[in-house]
């Protein structure tokens, strides 16, 4: 069983922020790679997040501080982090009948946000985006939706959720403004930072966020599956409430387990990879301004290919790039090729990550690639579009 793409340049936007930094892979597999429960040899408390050796507990404190929160737990992924928040909100809601079971979510949300809501029997109202070609989320849309729900039901929504960088266009939502509105209207606020936490500097206090969900394997240079849920002192007791159950016959209790994260979370390689990558992540977010500038330069070069246009915000503020590419589609059609040819052509030339079958629109990322690698990607697009390399850019 071989990995066909082992030596390829990866441009899948899901993956670019999750690639392990140099040296971590070797240390990870050399030191920890033999056993699934690698964290658990010295576990005294029965929950991986409480482990002192390796220092998971300290790592979680570091993660919470890194994002401007007070408490963090690691989870099976960002979706589980959102589930934990919504589960806590659901329980809070049951004790607060003055709230409705509707939550406000942006129209660019990742599906797992909506699934987490569905799992917790929360209804979703959408704050709209502004449509083609930017698809931006406006903070005023949240205010309108919250007030509309209040008018219709006489009650406030249970939660507002904003996708910090959306997975479709790579737009940054105005989370600071949304958070301020939520604070003023007294609506708890969750920021889904799956695509940003670990890539872009984040301070959830500045966002007025009560909760932050993060994907370590998307954006914190870690192996999957791993995410974090970060919250404030005010909410940590609810989100991280421990089990209160005592079994009837055997009398057992599970007092250290946190039901909202399914008791005890990841106890192996993914969590360790994140611990090993943390220095790198803390350092790389400080370079974000320079990185996004070069990503925008790449996008501009892509737009020099005829009939290719970047969708979403301009200048772009995230590394996920979604191009509208009727020019590529037309070029392929003229060559008698279908949409699958594009991804296959790229793979054949050492670049993997385009969605198979797509050629009218393409979505990818060059985050963290060297200039040489970016040039390779760009020139392949030029080649398939039949476009010339502009003078001086050979």
């Amino acid at each position: 069983m071989n990995n066909r793409y082992r030596d390829h340049i990866i441009i899948n936007a899901l993956m670019r922020g999750g690639i392990l930094p140099p040296g971590v892979k070797e240390e990870l597999f050399d030191q920890w790679g033999e056993v699934g429960y690698a964290l658990c040899h010295d576990c005294l408390e029965g929950r991986s997040s409480l482990c002192g050796r390796p220092p998971v507990k300290k790592h979680l404190e570091r993660v919470a501080a890194f994002y401007g929160g007070d408490a963090a737990e690691h989870t099976f992924g960002c979706r589980t982090a959102k589930f934990a928040v919504m589960r806590a909100v659901r329980e809070w809601l049951d004790a607060n009948p003055e709230r409705t079971d509707t939550i406000v979510v942006d129209a660019n949300s990742h599906y797992s946000t909506n699934i987490a809501a569905e799992l917790n029997s929360l209804r979703v109202a959408e704050a709209p985006h502004n449509g083609y070609p930017t698809y931006s989320i406006n903070a005023a849309g949240y205010e309108e939706k919250i007030l509309e729900i209040k008018r219709e039901t006489g009650r406030l929504p249970a939660l507002a959720v904003a996708t910090h960088a959306d997975p479709y266009y790579g737009n940054l939502a105005p989370v600071e403004d949304i958070g301020r509105i939520c604070r003023e209207l007294d609506v708890p606020f969750l920021v889904n930072a799956a695509y940003t936490g670990g890539v872009i500097p984040i301070d959830m206090r500045a966002m007025n966020a009560d909760f932050l969900s993060v994907s370590a394997h998307k954006s914190m240079a870690s192996l999957a599956p791993l995410g974090y849920v970060i919250t404030t002192h005010e909410w940590s007791g609810r989100v991280f409430a421990t089990s209160a159950q005592r079994t009837q016959w055997s009398g057992r209790v599970f007092g250290k387990k946190i039901p909202n994260i399914f008791g005890c979370s990841i106890g192996g390689i993914p969590a360790i990879s994140s611990m090993l990558s943390m220095d790198h992540v803390e350092e790389r977010v400080t370079q974000w301004d320079r990185e996004i500038e070069s990503i925008n330069a790449f996008a501009r070069a892509m737009e020099e290919i005829p009939d290719i246009m970047l969708l979403g915000q301009r200048p772009h503020r995230h590394h996920l790039l979604h191009f509208e590419t009727p020019g590529l589609w037309e070029a392929l059609k003229q060559q008698g090729k279908n949409g699958f040819y594009l991804s296959e052509f790229m793979i054949k030339n050492g670049v993997v990550g385009l969605h198979r079958g797509m050629s009218k629109h393409i979505k990818f990322s060059v985050y963290g690639l060297s200039q040489g690698e970016r040039d390779t990607v760009l020139n392949l697009f030029r080649e398939i579009a039949g476009a010339k390399v502009p003078a001086g850019k050979e």
Partner: protein
């Protein structure tokens, strides 16, 4: 009883292939709809081009199922293996049993399969599809006894009463006809099929995302119509070229989900003064690009999205080519 339009033809032609295909697509039916037409006049048998008779005598319900798979038959009494079908379809009068057939004339043949000019339309459905049909029709009567089913309950009864009826089939149909345990047969007068098809169309127009931003939600006809005028389906709009401009067409819906407006976007990589537009088009600059945008009420510009064709293309061409002018040479990315 057969239902006729003003020209005297049975309305199956109005319900026709399109209506039945629409129902099939909406329900996701494995089988096609089957038309059944009664022929009472011997001369009619000779004067018309009709499907061939079956190779050997067969069960009527079996022929219906074969027709649901695409075959067609003109079946006479000699072609019937089941005596119940002979009686219920009016091929002969009962002599030894007390069955009321309702036919004044003796049936000479039944044409099984073609939907054109059919008197009854039969749908072979599973439970879920029957449920969906019931929702679409505001309820369905199911008068059945478990005997004389496809021929009697679903065909003859519907023919006589002009009302839909759902049959849970009979032993003959299940043992010899080839129907699965999960299958039922719905008999419809053609006019009822037409109404169901209209209801489906209305639902399709109203259904889907309110933002109008999911092209897959749109009725297939609209997508096909855009294709015929050279516009391809993107994920949330149609794109193509008119007069050298790269054009996007976005269909906006109102609060009830109906397509209300058409927004035309022309995207030009140029400075703001690189293009000149006339109202109702307006421009906005977007970091090296000019977005040229106008929104129109579909009716006000006479855009019939369901008919499409040259008229639709001409409507868009006129708007784009006459209202937008390129002022700066080299600005275009034609």
């Amino acid at each position: 009883m057969s239902i006729s339009d003003s020209s005297g033809r049975t309305t199956c032609e109005l319900a026709g292939l399109t209506a039945c295909e629409r129902i099939r697509a909406h329900l996701g039916m494995k089988h096609g709809a089957v038309g059944v037409r009664f022929i009472f006049d011997e001369q009619e048998l000779e004067s018309q081009t009709l499907p061939a008779r079956p190779d050997k005598p067969s069960w009527y319900c079996q022929m219906v199922l074969q027709a649901a798979g695409g075959k067609q038959f003109t079946a006479r009494m000699q072609d019937m293996s089941c005596p119940n079908s002979e009686l219920s379809l009016g091929f002969r009068k009962p002599r030894f049993v007390n069955i009321k057939t309702g036919f004044d004339k003796v049936t000479q043949a039944v044409v099984i399969g073609p939907l054109e000019n059919a008197d009854v339309i039969l749908l072979v459905l599973n439970n879920r599809q029957a449920m969906t049909m019931s929702i679409l029709m505001g309820g369905i009567s199911a008068e059945f006894r478990g005997e004389v089913a496809v021929c009697g309950e679903a065909t003859a009864q519907v023919y006589h009463e002009g009302l839909p009826n759902l049959s849970f089939l009979c032993n003959g149909a299940r043992m010899f006809g080839g129907y699965k345990d999960s299958e039922v047969v719905l008999g419809l007068p053609p006019i009822a099929a037409e109404k169901v098809a209209e209801r489906i169309m209305a639902l399709q127009k109203a259904g889907g995302a309110l933002c109008g931003c999911v092209v897959s939600d749109l009725p297939r006809e609209i997508i096909e119509n855009f294709k015929t005028i050279g516009f391809e389906k993107g994920s949330d709009y149609f794109f193509g070229k008119l007069c050298g401009w790269s054009v996007r067409i976005y269909l906006d819906k109102d609060d009830t989900g109906r397509i209300k407006n058409i927004t035309l976007y022309v995207l030009e990589k140029a400075p703001l003064d690189g293009v000149l537009v006339k109202p109702p088009f307006s421009t906005r600059e977007r970091e090296g690009w000019v977005d040229i945008v106008a929104t129109f009420d579909t009716q006000s510009i006479g855009a019939d999205l369901y008919s499409g064709g040259d008229k639709l293309r001409n409507t868009f061409t006129e708007l784009i080519c006459n209202y937008i002018i390129r002022t700066q040479e080299g600005a275009s990315q034609k």
